[in-house]
């Protein structure tokens, strides 16, 4: 337990020291979302229509950018190997790293979300729905993303391959999250969508750490 807390503190401290790098996905998030009013026109009705989808797609793409950080630095300086050889349970360590990653790479996006909801003229009920879907759904991005990152740690052309592997898998999440916000805009109940996202989250929370550990063992033979 102490070891896991140490890993968490270490990852958080390292991330804090690389604040500049952490800013990149955030800036990408804001930039991409800002492109849409420029592309489709500033008409509030249009923006409200595409808003939830745009924010979620931008969140997914931004998280892909930040995902590489999960194991890259540890791989390069050898501490990943040390982690794998140590007596700490690898799935637990992987889960802790994923938590640290979510806190440092994705939580900032969620904190920015009110601003971006403003940019896209989302109504208040829509925003609350969006926030709930982000809180419940973005951990999925880190968990499942972690599996793919674990597999591709040593490879050179990581980036686009990661997107190719992960985007199809994120599509159901995208569908249900945007649908929840849409239902909110029509003042309908969206607890069903949240329930499905929650189920997917719990499912991956239970299994992903083991898959990530396995993926690391495969790629770090």
């Amino acid at each position: 337990m102490a070891a896991l807390m140490a890993i968490l503190k270490r990852d958080l401290a390292l991330a804090y020291r690389q604040r500049a790098e952490l800013m990149q996905p955030m800036l990408f998030f804001i930039l991409v979302i800002s492109l849409f009013p420029l592309a489709v026109g500033p008409e509030p009705k249009t923006l409200q229509l595409i808003g939830p989808g745009v924010i979620w797609v931008a969140a997914i793409l931004s998280s892909l950018l930040g995902l590489e950080r999960l194991f890259r630095d540890d791989f390069q300086d050898g501490s990943l190997e040390q982690l794998m050889l140590s007596s700490t349970s690898l799935p637990a360590a992987a889960l802790v790293k994923v938590v640290a990653h979510w806190l440092t790479s994705i939580l900032p996006l969620i904190i920015l979300s009110p601003l971006l909801a403003l940019f896209l003229h989302l109504s208040e009920p829509m925003y609350w729905a969006l926030l709930k879907t982000l809180l419940l759904g973005t951990p999925l991005l880190s968990l499942i993303g972690g599996i793919a990152v674990g597999l591709t740690v040593g490879l050179n052309r990581g980036g686009v391959l990661l997107a190719l592997l992960l985007l199809p898998v994120f599509i159901p999440l995208l569908i249900f999250a945007t649908s929840a916000v849409e239902f909110a805009s029509m003042e309908l109940q969206y607890s069903a969508q949240l329930a499905i996202i929650g189920a997917m989250f719990l499912f991956s929370l239970a299994l992903a750490p083991f898959a990530i550990a396995y993926a690391l063992r495969v790629s770090q033979t």
Binding site: I144, I147, A148, L151, T152, L155, R157, L161, L164, L165, L167, P168, V169, I171, P172, I175, F176, S179, E182, M200, A211, Y214, A215, V218, S219, T221
Partner: protein, 252 residues
């Protein structure tokens, strides 16, 4: 109970099994496909709603059905390879992948060609076509991941993990896309009416599915042999085989 399968973990045994099965699958497959396709194209009655355009069903449905079956087969091979550490299982998985990608591609093209006269556009984001598109990405993802690794042992395991992640997601993707489609109901839903198909239309369809399955099986046997040859290229049994099968005028 599965003891009889154990010898096939060895590449040499599997290679020769593929060689023995190949003529059966290819000849039978080709014959059944030709028979069923001619039956469906020329002899089956017309559809009162879609006129002759419905005949695309005889190539669209088999390839769509096969695309999902081949992905599942690939995932089963991945599972066996990962759990029991069988090298030949990973080779089977990678032999299946390009075949699956090809039939998915065919199902997309035939789906679009069917859609144009029926919906008026070449592409429509209906549940079936969208699912097939995502399946295409899943296949390409597994193939790309396998190709990125130098060490083919690692490559097999990594691609295997992705194949399994994909197969778990396949039903989720399928139902979420279907549900998404009912929300955003734009064009008419393409009803195949399979259960209400008269037997004169249904039989050529079933035979087409069988024929396509056999032909895909034949190509799989061929590609499995290629995977084996590629991995075992320095082994003496491969050298002996090459000398036996190729004309001996080459080499000194």
């Amino acid at each position: 109970m599965w003891k009889w399968l154990h010898p096939y973990a060895k590449t040499e045994r599997t290679y020769h099994l593929c060689q023995r099965l190949l003529p059966w699958f290819s000849v039978l497959g080709l014959a059944v496909i030709l028979f069923a396709t001619v039956w469906g194209l020329a002899y089956a009655p017309t559809d009162y709603q879609q006129s002759e355009a419905y005949r695309i069903i005889y190539v669209h449905v088999p390839t769509a059905v096969l695309s999902k079956s081949l992905y599942s087969a690939m995932a089963v091979a991945a599972f066996i390879g990962l759990v029991w550490q069988v090298k030949t299982s990973f080779m089977a998985m990678m032999a299946l992948a390009p075949i699956g990608a090809t039939v998915t591609f065919i199902s997309l093209i035939t789906g679009a060609a069917w859609g144009k006269p029926m919906w008026g556009t070449w592409w429509e984001w209906d549940a079936r076509l969208t699912s097939q598109l995502i399946l295409m990405f899943l296949f390409i993802g597994v193939i790309s991941l396998y190709k990125s690794f130098e060490d083919k042992q690692q490559a097999g395991k990594a691609a295997g993990v992705m194949a399994i992640v994909g197969v778990i997601n396949l039903p989720i993707i399928h139902y979420s896309v279907q549900w998404w489609n009912t929300l955003h109901q734009g064009a008419t839903i393409l009803k195949l009416g399979k259960p209400s198909m008269p037997p004169e239309m249904l039989w050529p369809l079933l035979l087409s599915i069988l024929g396509w399955a056999l032909v895909c099986g034949a190509v799989f046997l061929l590609r499995m042999q290629n995977e084996i040859l590629h991995r075992e290229i320095k082994r003496p049994w491969v050298v002996a085989l090459a000398n036996k099968t190729s004309p001996l005028s080459k080499g000194k």
